[in-house]
């Protein structure tokens, strides 16, 4: 009787318990991976702006709006004024444009929800990447096909370092016209990003 119980506990209960714990852990880890790293993050924006329409169908260059991306560390989100360059005439009667015009005339900034974010202690620099010919899509995915922008790539330090160590594998798209720039391994020292 005693032997049987011991056997049962050792041979059945314990492995099952360990299996269940491990399985729960593993499943949780993998299921929540994307969410933890923000992959798939697709917050609703105050104005339903479509990148697919503007960047995809109308083929407006990313830098028309994100004009500082090759000048500074930040790829700026355009001010309402930039939208109004066209929309003071174009599609004035559409509800989203009426919303936009309202923001603009009231002088209130539009609070766009952030989709991608690197932590404050990492000083990512857009311009050094873009000026080397690394296309936006390498990190941001094919935004030109997105109705609502979502995060498709990992924005962890591992993702950064993978590409810095092996740029050939990481960089799929080069900005047209910048193909002949040599892309070396990125810096891997701490002070490249942390200061």
């Amino acid at each position: 009787m005693k032997n049987f119980l011991l056997d049962y506990n050792l041979k059945v209960r314990l492995p099952v318990l360990i299996f269940v714990v491990l399985a729960v852990f593993t499943i949780t880890y993998y299921v929540s991976y994307a969410e933890r790293n923000g992959i798939g993050n697709m917050p609703a924006q105050p104005i339903a702006y479509s990148h697919k329409l503007h960047a995809g169908d109308l083929k407006i260059d990313c830098r028309y709006c994100h004009s500082d991306v090759d000048k500074s560390r930040h790829a700026n989100v355009p001010s309402a004024k930039v939208c109004m360059n066209c929309h003071s005439i174009a599609r004035k009667d559409k509800p989203e444009i009426i919303k936009l015009t309202d923001y603009y005339t009231r002088g209130v900034p539009i609070e766009w929800k952030r989709v991608h974010r690197v932590p404050d202690f990492a000083y990512f620099n857009h311009s050094v990447h873009v000026n080397k010919g690394i296309d936006c899509s390498n990190c941001h995915g094919n935004v030109a096909a997105m109705e609502v922008v979502e995060q498709v790539k990992d924005f962890t330090m591992r993702a950064c370092l993978d590409c810095h160590r092996n740029p050939e594998a990481g960089i799929k798209n080069i900005i047209p016209g910048k193909e002949n720039l040599q892309i070396n391994n990125g810096p891997q020292n701490c002070s490249a990003c942390h200061r």
Partner: protein, 1083 residues
């Protein structure tokens, strides 16, 4: 000689002395040893405790962390939250978060401009040229703003006087802008204890009505201000305000003024103001109690001109600086020959020199009147030397140098010396032909002359008699600054209307009916002219943070006579209207003027085409009768001499609430957060004083108690104390810091405002702890012990030696055999780079470093360094990344001083990297030793293993801990440099070589598709250094300035022998003395 034996010999040579028990706080039974002070070993010492081998200090040296740093904090000062409660709350909040959360963590918002200004690029700084209003010299500044926030101030390279450099006060001035204790709204005070916020319109209306009635009743309206150096403000005050309110009168004063120098010059030459001197053309400079490199005159300009002649590469010979002084000043400590003389004997010394040159040597080019000769008859240099026991050799050199360099030397008399001394010095410069160096075509300019003593007395008697009906304090604080004998605070009570226009409350605003907050210098318009050849502009770089107004706008509103006439553009229009007629005349159209105006704003300064100022010319003659009629009555007394000196960091006290400045160590004593009475070793002995004892000082004006600091190199009988401390009405940072020594200033001084030769000194019971940073980070590693006396942290030589054998230093210092070197080598466990690309490095020229601390002030601002407070500095926890080590050699009575900026050396084989358990500090291929704050777990092993002791640990979140978390106020968060992490508790930090600026250059290089150019990167300390002592760049760039310096024959690195290969090279100090310094040769 084997190392061990050598050290034993040195230890055995020490002998017992008893003076130490007088100076140190130790019992006489303790065996005291003093290292031999004979000349063969300069044996650098930093404090008396080190010099006399105080056993406590020796014990402390053995420990990495000195007493106090590891003390448990007072638990009562912590939050009352228990750990259990905290955990409970933590889990509760986690549970709430878990149930309430959406799929993704919210990442916040991006809030772009609605209409982005054209000039702004997010993430890139914008620079604006402006003018500093911290003192009356009006230096040109360049304000760096990021997204509209001013975050850093540097010198404007296009400014003809400051030429890209500014002082520590201007460096730290951004903190004044963001000071959360600035006044935010106008206040009206019914009586002393009852003030309430009011609206601008109400205040304006009430004030205008009162001013009108006071003016029409024929009473005076006094406007009390500091130096007016703005032509537009001058016009506003003396023309427009006077037209609107006929009874108004302007009184301007300055706590430190050059009035003795100027009035003496006027008497001698007829020109009102002392001319500009070409110090860079002077081969020999004699400073008589004159701290022109520290606190006197335009320090920025003086330092630049002085150091241009201290450069081994610029082709000209070194200048030779003699200092004759009683107080230990920065200038004196940089002098090649420093002759210690009581300040009250200096006048006699000058007269003896005159006697020597005029009567004995009969220098040609100057014929003395009989009256002058008669006056000098009774003086004799030889007798003076023996009477005062001076260094005869040094004075012989001085006399012969002055004679040999007639026409290219300069004698500078200190501002604290009386007019008579200045007259004698003017004659000395005339005799020596040094008037050559006075600039003839450019004059100093005074817009409104400072009020004379009689005028100020008039003001006070007017107040007392009721003749003066209203007082307007224009950003001034006379209650604090005026001699207490004036009784200004009491006199103010008689005035019907007292208005203070001020940035924050002060002693004077307390006595007012209205306190009107004004814009800071970053929010204001202004124009300035201090020299006849140019004028400069000040422009606002940020909209007013609070409900404040520009002070000139307030006055203009009152001039217009209606509260509705205010608009924030009034003074801007007023200035540009003036400039149309004065500095930018003849524009054909408004558009043309607009272009010129914008160009002037862009440059910050414009040339003045019309030079109308009257100054000296080539033919201006010295009025010998002035000298003959002067009564030279200053004689060295037997009593004590008190010198009241300009505060090195706080100006006249108006920067007291700036913690960065309070915590900036004074150059010599390295004391922070206090002023003190500096006394000599001899005086201390005579009075039985130790450092930190208290004395009472009595002048004819009053009596004050001061803590004592024994300052090596002070003359016997001289006591020096800084002004500008002890503010009683101030923000939380500056309130009651130090002692108010203004109380000692007499309204009718016998000698001068800042010098009293009849003071009484008494030891009073009590103890006040002064905190100096100099003993910090002394260490005594067992590994290094054997070579401690041969460490050669400071290496020096003489200029003559260098001229003979440029590489004398390397002859002198090769002493390690291969075997020894191998034994001492410190390897690295980290991956080692070959450093073939860019390799960052720095060279610091100790010939140029004056020890002034500007670099530290700039570093604080650039790198978001917190204020820690006096108690934490005491526990060795100051956070400044760069410090200037000050070493004395020689005896305490006659020390030689060496300064050495010390910061992270970015060693190729950095010992700190080897011991970090979490690889938080690592190396990069371009030679940087980096800190990743997020990895740091705070073991402090790195600091322990650092041979240079340059790492700083955040024992607390200092921003939270200091003075009720004043640094966490919202306004201060705007001040932080966004390119640098704001560190929190528990992480190690240190100099990064301004990695953010390196990254900016990398960004530009990639943008322009070129290689990184090392010399494009300027570190904050380098930009700030007044004397260009610091050079940064790429060590592998053979074309660069840095390459030349690093490979200079006098370059060395500190602790070379431990083979950590530091990337900072020091250029050995060459003293320009005649004697070859045998001491340092015989190592």
């Amino acid at each position: 000689m084997p190392l061990r034996e050598n050290q034993d010999k040195l230890i055995m040579d020490k002998k017992v002395v008893d003076i130490s028990s007088k100076i140190l706080n130790v019992t006489p039974e303790d065996p005291k040893v003093i290292p031999e002070t004979e000349e063969k070993d300069p044996n650098y010492w930093r404090s008396f405790r080190e010099l006399y081998n105080d056993p406590d200090f020796l014990k402390e040296k053995k420990n990495e962390f000195q007493p106090g740093s590891l003390d448990r904090p007072d638990e009562n000062s912590f939050s009352k939250f228990s750990r259990r409660k905290f955990l409970a709350l933590l889990s509760a909040s986690a549970a709430v978060a878990a149930t309430g959360c959406s799929n993704f963590r919210d990442k916040g918002e991006i809030v772009p401009y609605n209409k982005k200004p054209e000039s702004v690029t997010i993430g890139l700084p914008t620079y604006y040229a402006s003018t500093c209003t911290g003192c009356s010299y009006a230096c040109g500044i360049l304000i760096k703003t990021i997204e509209g926030r001013p975050i850093k101030v540097d010198g404007n390279p296009d400014h003809p006087v400051s030429k890209g450099k500014i002082c520590a006060i201007a460096q730290a001035s951004v903190m004044n802008l963001y000071d959360p204790e600035r006044l935010k709204n106008p206040l009206e005070r019914a009586d002393r204890n009852n003030s309430k916020e009011t609206a601008w319109a109400d205040a304006d209306e009430k004030i205008i009505n009162q001013l009108k009635s006071i003016s029409s009743s024929g009473k005076e309206i006094a406007i009390v201000t500091h130096t007016v150096n703005s032509p537009s403000l001058k016009k506003l005050l003396t023309e427009d305000f006077r037209t609107a309110y006929p009874g108004s009168k302007v009184y301007s004063y300055e706590l430190y003024s050059e009035s003795a120098r100027n009035s003496a010059f006027e008497k001698c030459y007829g020109a009102k103001l002392f001319p500009v001197v070409q110090l860079d053309k002077a081969n020999v400079i004699l400073a008589l109690e004159s701290d022109f490199l520290g606190t006197e005159g335009n320090k920025v300009e003086n330092s630049r001109m002085y150091s241009e002649r201290r450069d081994i590469y610029n082709g000209s010979e070194f200048n030779r600086l003699y200092a004759v002084e009683g107080n230990a000043s920065v200038t004196g400590m940089n002098a090649d020959y420093r002759i210690i003389l009581r300040t009250d004997a200096i006048e006699e010394f000058v007269l003896c020199l005159l006697n020597e040159f005029i009567l004995k040597e009969k220098l040609s080019g100057f014929t003395a009147d009989a009256a002058v000769s008669a006056k000098l008859q009774s003086y004799d240099l030889k007798g003076f030397i023996s009477k005062n026991n001076l260094n005869e050799e040094a004075i012989k050199h001085l006399v012969s140098d002055l004679r040999k360099n007639t026409g290219s030397s300069f004698v500078s008399a200190g501002s604290m010396l009386p007019e008579s001394t200045h007259i004698a010095v003017n004659l000395l410069n005339e005799v020596l032909g040094n008037t050559n160096l006075y600039v003839k075509d450019v004059q100093n300019i005074e817009q409104i002359p400072l009020s004379t003593k009689a005028e100020l007395e008039n003001l006070i008697s007017g107040l007392k008699s009721g003749k003066t009906g209203a007082v307007i304090h224009l950003d001034s604080n006379p209650v604090y600054h005026f001699p207490s004998e004036y009784g200004y605070a009491d006199a103010l009570k008689n005035a019907g209307l007292v208005i203070s226009l001020t940035e924050s409350v002060n002693e004077t605003s307390e006595a007012g009916n209205f306190i009107l907050p004004v814009n800071s210098m970053f929010e204001s318009w202004g124009d300035f002219q201090t020299r006849s050849n140019f004028a400069s502009l000040q422009q606002p770089v940020i909209a007013p943070l609070y409900n404040t107004r520009q002070k000139e706008d307030i006055l203009l509103t009152w001039i217009k006579g209606s509260k509705d006439s205010y608009n924030p553009d009034l003074y801007h229009q007023y200035i540009s209207g003036n400039w149309k007629n004065t500095f930018l005349p003849g524009a054909a159209s408004d558009m043309q003027f607009g272009k010129e105006w914008n160009a002037a704003l862009n440059d910050g300064a414009v040339k003045v085409r019309q030079n109308t100022a009257a100054g000296i010319t080539e033919t201006t003659a010295f009025k010998q009768e002035t000298f003959a009629n002067t009564n030279f009555r200053l004689k060295a007394g037997s009593e004590y001499v008190l010198l009241l000196t300009r505060s090195f960091t706080l100006g006249d006290g108006r920067f007291a609430n700036n913690g960065w400045l309070q915590e900036l160590p004074k150059p010599l004593s390295r004391i922070v957060w206090d002023n003190y009475a500096a006394v000599s070793v001899q005086t201390a002995k005579a009075l039985g004083l130790k450092s930190n004892d208290k004395i009472s000082v009595t002048t004819p004006a009053g009596k004050t108690e001061l803590p004592v600091f024994i300052q090596p190199g002070t003359a016997e009988g001289v006591i020096a104390a800084e002004l500008g401390y002890g503010r009683s009405v101030c923000g939380t940072v500056g309130k009651d810091v130090g002692v108010n020594t203004n109380k000692l200033i007499s309204g009718n001084p016998q000698v001068s405002m800042f010098m009293y030769n009849d003071v009484k000194i008494e030891k009073v019971p009590g103890f006040y702890e002064l905190i100096s940073t100099q003993e910090h980070y002394a260490f005594d590693e067992p590994l290094l012990k054997d070579i401690q006396f041969r460490r050669e942290i400071i290496q020096e030589g003489t200029y003559l030696e260098f001229k003979e054998t440029p590489d004398f230093l390397h002859h002198r210092h090769t002493k390690y055999s291969e075997e020894e070197t191998e034994k001492l080598k410190v390897g690295s466990i980290n991956e080692q780079y070959d450093h073939t690309g860019t390799k960052w490095g720095m060279a610091i020229d100790l010939n140029k470093c004056t020890g002034c601390n500007e670099c530290a002030a700039a570093c604080n601002v650039e790198n978001n360094i917190p204020i820690v407070g006096k108690d934490q500095v005491k526990a060795n926890r100051e956070m400044q990344w760069i410090r200037i080590d000050r070493y004395y050699s020689g005896t305490p009575e006659v020390p030689k001083t060496s300064f050495q900026p010390m910061l992270c050396q970015h060693c190729d084989f950095a010992p700190c990297e080897n011991v970090c358990p979490v690889a938080a500090t690592t190396h990069s291929a371009d030679g940087l030793n980096a800190m990743a704050y997020n990895r740091c777990v705070g073991t402090r092993y790195c600091s322990n293993n650092c041979p240079y002791k340059v790492r700083r640990f955040n024992y607390f979140n200092f921003r939270d801990r200091f003075r009720d978390s004043v640094q966490l106020e919202e306004s201060f968060s705007l001040m932080a440099n966004p390119e640098v992490t704001v560190r929190s508790r528990g992480v190690m930090e240190k100099c990064t070589f301004c990695i953010q600026r390196i990254m900016e250059e990398r960004q530009n290089a990639i943008q322009e598709n070129r290689y990184i150019i090392g010399s494009n990167v300027k570190t904050a300390c380098q930009e700030a250094c007044n004397t260009n002592a610091i050079t940064f760049g790429d060590k592998n760039d053979k074309e660069s300035e840095l390459y030349k310096l690093v490979n200079s024959s006098i370059a060395y690195s500190v602790l070379e022998e431990i083979k950590v290969k530091p990337n900072i090279s020091y250029l050995a100090k060459l003293r320009n003395v005649y004697e070859t310094d045998k001491t340092s040769q015989e190592h």
